[in-house]
Each structure stands twice: as C-alpha cells, then as structure tokens.
C-alpha cells in the first residue's frame, strides 16, 4: 500500500509539471508578454526594455527550465504586476478560495446526497421529479445570471446579505450557494443512479429478507457501495470548485485564485499564472489520488487490483 501511495504521488507530481510546461508554452502563443506588460500606452522601446528586464528574449525552454527549477524549491519569483513575491499574493488568495470551494462543496453534498438517495428509493416519484427539475435547472442556468439574480433579490430588494466582497462571513453566503448549485446536479445524479443499481442487487434483497430495518439497509449496505463512483466524482468536482469559478468570483468580487489566474493571464503576469497552474494541477492530482485511496479503503475488492 505504501509503495502504491508513493508511486501515485510521483506520477501526480509528473502530471503537474507536464501541465505547467504545456501551459507555459501556450501562454507565449497568446502574444508577446513584453508588449502586453508595457500596456496600451507603451512604445516599442518600452516593450524592448521590459523584454530584457524579464528575460523574455531568452528561448522559451530556457525560461521554463529557469522557472521550474526555482518553483520546485518553493520560489515562485516576483509578480510582474504587483511587484511582490508571488507566494505572498497566492498566500492571500488561497484561504478565500479554499473557504469558498470547501463550503460550496459541502453545501452541494449536503443537498445532493440525501436528495439522490431519496430519489432512488422511488424512481419517478415526487422527490425524484423534483430532483430532476433541480438537476436540469442547475445545469442549464448560467451561474453569472443566477448570481446576479441572487444579488438583486437578496442583496438589493431585501438587503439580507452583502452584495459583494468577503470582508465579513455573510459575504460568503451568496457565492457559496450559487457555486454549490452548479455542483449539485452531477453529484445527485450519480448518487441516484448508483443507489438504484445497488438497490436492485441480490444482497440488498437478502438483507431486506432477513428483516433488517430499511434505514440500516440503505445506509450501511446500499450507500456504502453506491458511494464509490460518487467519491471519484467528488474529487473532480471539488477540484473544479477549488480552482475557483472565475464567474462567481467576478460577480461577487471574491478575491480568490480563479480570478487572480484570469486577470494575471490578461496582464501577462506570467510568474503568477504559472504558480497558480502548478498549484491547481497539484490540487487535482492530490484529490484524485485521495479519492483512489479512499475507494480502496472502502472497497476491499479494489485493494487487490491496486497494489
């Protein structure tokens, strides 16, 4: 099990580095960073000075090797835009993103899991239909629209919650709910389909025939098996939520990683962009690895295959 874990981690790190190398090359395709940094008021001479100052005149491979070398020792360099260490900026933004992402994930799970189970108990029943409506609308409604509507109703009309910013905890309420709403459909549907499948198996029928209480059959025997695909999906969903929804962060003026990445990309603040890409890809690989391990722990059958 330990060597399995180690191997997974090494592969994970390799994936993260490969992602960052690819993105590094892609960034240079979007235009000359020196001109972008000089801005729309910069002359050709200004751009040239910037090119030399930041070493953009060197071959891309050299620039990347230089960057990844420092990054792997924890030095992400200085932000070109903010002129302070990248680690400091990201350090300020990560707690915001983690809070928003985790809360949204927990909220989504708290709604999706019971609703999915309840829907599976009586397919096509009232709860199932309600869940279907929720799922379809959750996937169809664009989150910026939902966010703005939430602002209008709860912020402007009723004045119940702050409209933007996360200076107080109340500021998290709207963004968390709107972000959660977009994550609910997939979590719920995979719970529902997993439960329906499991509920039709022989061992559940045996458990019911033995006269076990329904609650125990559902929670212990059925859910534990139905939850396996949910864990894998959760890892991906949590990754999506943590990589920050640019849209939600923009609408609610939440200063998290997602919008920082987007803005940094637009202003060619390459050290920040690269650091975020590396961190987010690490998030993903760590989460999927954790999901694999969790599944192996929950289901002994997977352990044999994995080791």
């Amino acid at each position: 099990m330990l060597s399995f874990l180690l191997r997974r981690l090494v592969v994970a790190l390799g994936v993260a580095v490969a992602v960052s190398a690819l993105s590094f090359a892609l960034i240079f395709l979007t235009g000359d960073p020196a001109i972008a940094i000089a801005g729309s008021g910069g002359s050709a001479g200004d751009a040239e000075a910037i090119r030399l100052a930041y070493g953009f005149d060197r071959p891309i491979v050299v620039q990347y090797a230089d960057w990844i070398g420092s990054a792997l020792t924890g030095d992400f360099g200085q932000s070109i835009y903010f002129n302070i260490p990248v680690s400091e900026i990201i350090g300020n933004r990560i707690p915001v993103t983690l809070t928003l992402g985790m809360l949204a994930f927990l909220a989504a799970l708290a709604i999706a899991l019971p609703l999915g189970v309840a829907a599976a108990m009586r397919p096509n029943g009232f709860i199932d239909r309600f869940a279907l409506v929720l799922a379809v609308s959750g996937q169809a409604v664009p989150s910026f629209w939902l966010g703005l509507m939430a602002i209008v109703v709860f912020g402007v009309w009723y004045g119940l919650v702050p409209i933007s910013g996360t200076e107080t905890w109340q500021g998290y309420i709207l963004p968390v709910l709107v972000l959660a709403y977009s994550a609910i459909p997939e979590l719920m549907r995979i719970t529902r389909s997993g439960m329906i499948e499991v509920l039709n198996t022989d061992y559940i029928r045996s458990a019911q025939a033995k006269g076990l209480p329904t609650g125990r059959v559902i929670l212990v025997h059925a859910l534990r098996n139905a939850v396996l695909p949910l864990i894998s999906l959760s890892a991906v969903q949590l990754g999506i939520l943590l990589s920050g929804s640019i849209v939600i962060e923009s609408v609610f003026a939440v200063n998290g990683l997602g919008r920082l990445a987007w803005e940094s990309l637009l202003r060619s603040d390459l050290p920040v962009v690269q650091a975020i890409i590396l961190i987010l890809s690490l998030f993903y690989v760590v989460l999927t690895t954790a999901a694999d391990l969790l599944n192996a722990w929950l289901d002994p059958r997977l352990r044999g295959g994995a080791a």
């Binding site: 000089a38 729309s40 910069g42 002359s43 100052a53 302070i84 402007v156």
Partner: protein, 508 residues
C-alpha cells in the same frame, strides 16, 4: 474584467437590475463621511514610476505630490512641492522648494527628497515603466536645502507636463532604504490623503492628511475617508451603487449609462483617448492598395464615421479629422475633412485601379467588435472586403510593429496629457511605432517636441498634422468619454485626463 461574461451578463442581467430598482437606497457614504469607490480593474502597486493603469495612478496622486501641478481649467502650471521654477540655462531648470511641508510619516520635505527620488528612478536598474517619463533627466543637483536643479539630457517640451504630478517625490531616507517595493508596501507621500491600509489589488483605505500644506494645489479636501474596492463585474457595481454601498464608479458603457440615469447620478466627460485606424502604406510592398494615397482617402470617404460615432461613442464623442485629440495643444484643426461620400469613394477606388475593390486584413484590439464590424460593413458597400481579426492588444500591436498588417484599429490615450507631442511623435516621429517613416514629418515633430517657444511648436505640429491628414495615413475615428456613476449625495468634477480628484469632491 471578463469581457465575455460582462457582455453576456449585460444582456441578461441588465433587465433584471432594471426591475430591482424600486428599493430605496440608504446612502451610507455621506453618513459616515466615507467615499466608497469601486474599480473594475485591480490597482497596480502604488509607485507611479512603475505603473500604467489609471486605478493605481489615481490612488498615487492622492498620496503623493509632484513638484508642479497643472490646472486643467487654465492650462497653467501651478506650484506644488516647488514654489517656483525657472530655466537658468536652456537645459537647466532650477526649482525653489516649499518649506514646511511634511510627509505622512512626519519627515520634513527638503531638496534631498527630490534628488534621491530622481536619482533612483532614472537609474536603468530601477525599471521605470515608460522611458518618456524620465529619460530627459540627466542629473539632479542640490544647491541648498530648498533649491534643486534638474540638468536635462535633451530638450523636451513635455518636461513640465511630467513634473506636474506624474513624477511624485518620495521621502529620501525611506525610499533609499526600501526602494520601489518598500514604497508600494508602505506608501508615504506629501499628498492630501494618506494610506491607512491596503490589501494590494483588493482594498485600499485612505484618510485625509490633516497636515497637508494649505497653499498646495490639492488643499481643501473635505471628505474624511476613502475606501476603494475592486469589483470586477459592472452589474455588481450598479447593484452596490443603487443600494447606497458605493458612491463612485466609472467607465460605465454608454448603453448602461442611460439605463442608470434615472436611479443615480450619471455624468459624462470627454477624455484624451481617441480611436483610430492606422494604415501602414510602407509596411507591405508598394503594390498593395494601401500604399496608394488615393485608396486611403477613398477608404475614409467610404466610412460613415458620423453614424458610427453616434452609435458607439457616447454622448460627448465627435468625429475627428486629426490624428490627435482637438483638446491637445498643437492639434491643428484647420485640415482637410473627409466627408462621408460612398459615391466619391467608389470613383476614387476606380481611378486608382480598384474598380472591383480588393480584400484587406484589419486587426482590431481594445476596441469593441461592433465598431469594427460597422467599419467593415461600410467598406463592403464600396467593394472593399475587410477581413476582421480581433486580437489582444499585445498580439495586435506586435504584428503592427512587425509590419505585418495593412490596417490596425485601436485607440491611444496620450498618457492623459493635453499635448499633441504624446501622440504624434510616437506614431509619426520616426520611432518603432512609426510605420510611415517620413523624414519630413519626423523633422517637424522633433522641432515641435523640443522647442521651448510655443508658437514654433504649434506651427510645426500644424504642418505635421496637415501632412498626415492629406496623406490619409490614419482614419481618425472619435474621442472617448468616460461615464461616472455617483451617489446622489456626492458632488464630483471629472477631468479629461481621467485622473479622479477626490480631494475636490464633497457631500451635497
């Protein structure tokens, strides 16, 4: 700012917001004497020498002072940290400094601050953002505690413009020790507001500096506190403004401005920035249609700039005939005007040998797509097929400078400065942005840029402007406006240089 999000959100969100406005607003700003401001873009670090964005520069001008200050109403240069100045020699300026001025940290302002600041920012190692800011300064000398001399490296007509608030003076001990990063972490100036706290790019809190020198050009600030936040989504800004949580927002698109008008205070002000289509007659081979003067003139005749300006420019925008803003010094207006006349355009194209039209690529950057499409639609009517290609500014201007494009549609803000030097000389003065490389033009412009006699300057700019217009090197489009959304309680005067002066703002 996420442009596509904003555009989509505008379509869906605006109607929703319009419905929502019944709610009465409690105006918090006036009650606690705090001006609540939102910018859509994150302010850059507060070192004016290293930044370009207006957001950071506006904050910086509240915190720092320059040697001089330009009164935009009269065009006069007023004393600020310097009480007076004179040219003791053609390339030597002497400044008498003001006594009794305090920095926010309590330090006294003296000649050492001027010398140290300029010494540091003119060092190439420092990385001052735009060479044009300081490359005219050769050295700075302290004569006594309250007298300094600037030795210029070359004649530069924009020197006073630069010294007027664009080049702030930092406290020498702190700055020498901590450099640019230090001054951005702990901004210390002599300005009318001091920075109380900042989360860079996110939130800034300023407080009125009670010891501001009363003779200063920014004296008399009335609002006690200013809180600046970044709210990228404009619709969210509108909601906050209408709920009374914000008192000041800007850069509201024209269509949104009219929608907000009935709910909050909306004012509009013309600015220096102008939109233009640049042609590159010499960039491509001499056989290309754009190399012919007649073809370029025909293209301008073919575009209904009047209608385009009305539709996209906003309330105070006008069609331009010149490659500079009429509000700028030296921007001659007695020039050929190319009226909208598609018939004539067609005739001119036929005379030039393009009776069947031709195909041409035009890259546009930092301009809305509908404007570019309107230009293309007008040109299509005279047989010219414009292949539109939208790019990020950096990519577009890179191609332009590499001489790969016949036409480039973008805009230029002249650093907000009301002097034609800051646009003409960049594009026609022989530098890397100049794709014409006409030695006669460059000569006129150099003379105009460096002469100290205003009449000589005006005369040479005039000749250059007329030649550029006659040659039709540019199709000037229109000047930009900025729309501001204000709390009904706030009185605020905007200026064409896009520098908000909150020290002049007050509660009604």
């Amino acid at each position: 700012m996420t442009l596509t999000t904003t555009t989509m959100a505008r379509l869906l969100g605006a109607s929703a917001l319009a419905l929502s406005l019944a709610a009465g607003a409690a105006h918090a700003g006036k009650a606690d004497d705090t001006l609540n401001v939102a910018f859509a873009a994150e302010p850059e670090p507060l070192d004016s020498y290293k930044i370009a964005g207006r957001q950071g520069l506006i904050l910086a001008r509240h915190i720092y002072d320059g040697l001089l200050y330009k009164d935009l109403n009269t065009g006069e240069f007023l004393p600020a940290l310097a009480e007076s100045y004179e040219y003791v020699e053609p390339l030597v300026m002497e400044f008498k400094l003001r006594e009794g001025v305090k920095f926010h940290n309590g330090a006294d302002f003296t000649a050492d601050d001027v010398v140290t600041t300029f010494d540091m920012v003119t060092d190439p190692e420092y990385g001052t953002r735009y060479a044009i800011y300081v490359d005219w300064i050769d050295s700075v000398e302290k004569i006594d505690d309250y007298t300094v001399r600037i030795n210029m490296s070359k004649p530069f007509a924009g020197a006073l413009e630069m010294l007027a608030d664009a080049l702030p003076i930092y406290p020498h001990e702190f700055f020498a020790e901590n450099g640019s990063e230090g001054i951005t972490r702990t901004p210390i100036g002599t300005g009318p507001y001091k920075l109380v706290s900042q989360e860079p790019g996110v939130r800034y809190e300023l407080e009125k500096f009670e010891d501001y020198y009363p003779e200063g050009p920014k004296a008399g600030a009335s609002i006690g506190k200013i809180v600046v936040r970044t709210i990228p989504e404009l619709n969210t800004q509108y909601a906050e403004l209408m709920s009374g949580n914000l008192d000041w927002i800007w850069r509201i698109p024209p269509d949104q401005a009219s929608r907000l008008e009935s709910r909050v205070q909306v004012i509009s002000a013309p600015i220096m920035r102008i939109a233009y289509v640049g042609f590159a007659p010499l960039a491509l081979d001499a056989e290309s249609p754009i190399a012919k003067q007649e073809v370029r003139q025909a293209l301008i005749h073919a575009v209904n700039r009047e209608a385009i300006t009305k539709a996209f420019g906003g309330a105070g925008s006008e069609v331009l005939n010149t490659p500079c803003n009429p509000a700028q010094f030296g921007c001659e207006q007695d020039v050929t005007a190319y009226e909208y006349d598609p018939e004539k355009a067609r005739q001119m194209l036929a005379d030039a040998g393009y009776a069947d039209g031709f195909e041409m690529e035009m890259v546009f950057a930092a301009m809305p797509r509908p404007v570019a499409e309107a230009v293309a639609a007008d040109l299509a009517k005279v047989g010219v097929t414009l292949i539109l290609n939208e790019q990020q500014y950096a990519a577009g201007v890179g191609q332009w400078r590499a001489k790969e494009l016949p036409a480039f549609f973008s805009n230029w803000g002249s650093y907000g400065i009301g002097d034609a030097a800051f646009i003409l000389s960049n594009f026609f003065g022989g530098g890397a942005d100049d794709l014409i490389q006409d030695p006669q033009l460059a000569e006129w412009l150099t003379t105009a840029d460096t002469a100290s006699d205003r009449e000589v300057r005006a005369e040479n700019y005039s000749m250059a402007v007329k030649e550029i217009v006659d040659q039709a090197y540019w199709m000037p489009m229109y000047n930009f406006n900025v729309n501001y959304g204000l709390s009904p309680d706030l009185s605020f005067t905007p200026y064409p240089d896009e520098f908000a002066r909150w020290w002049e703002a007050s509660w009604k």
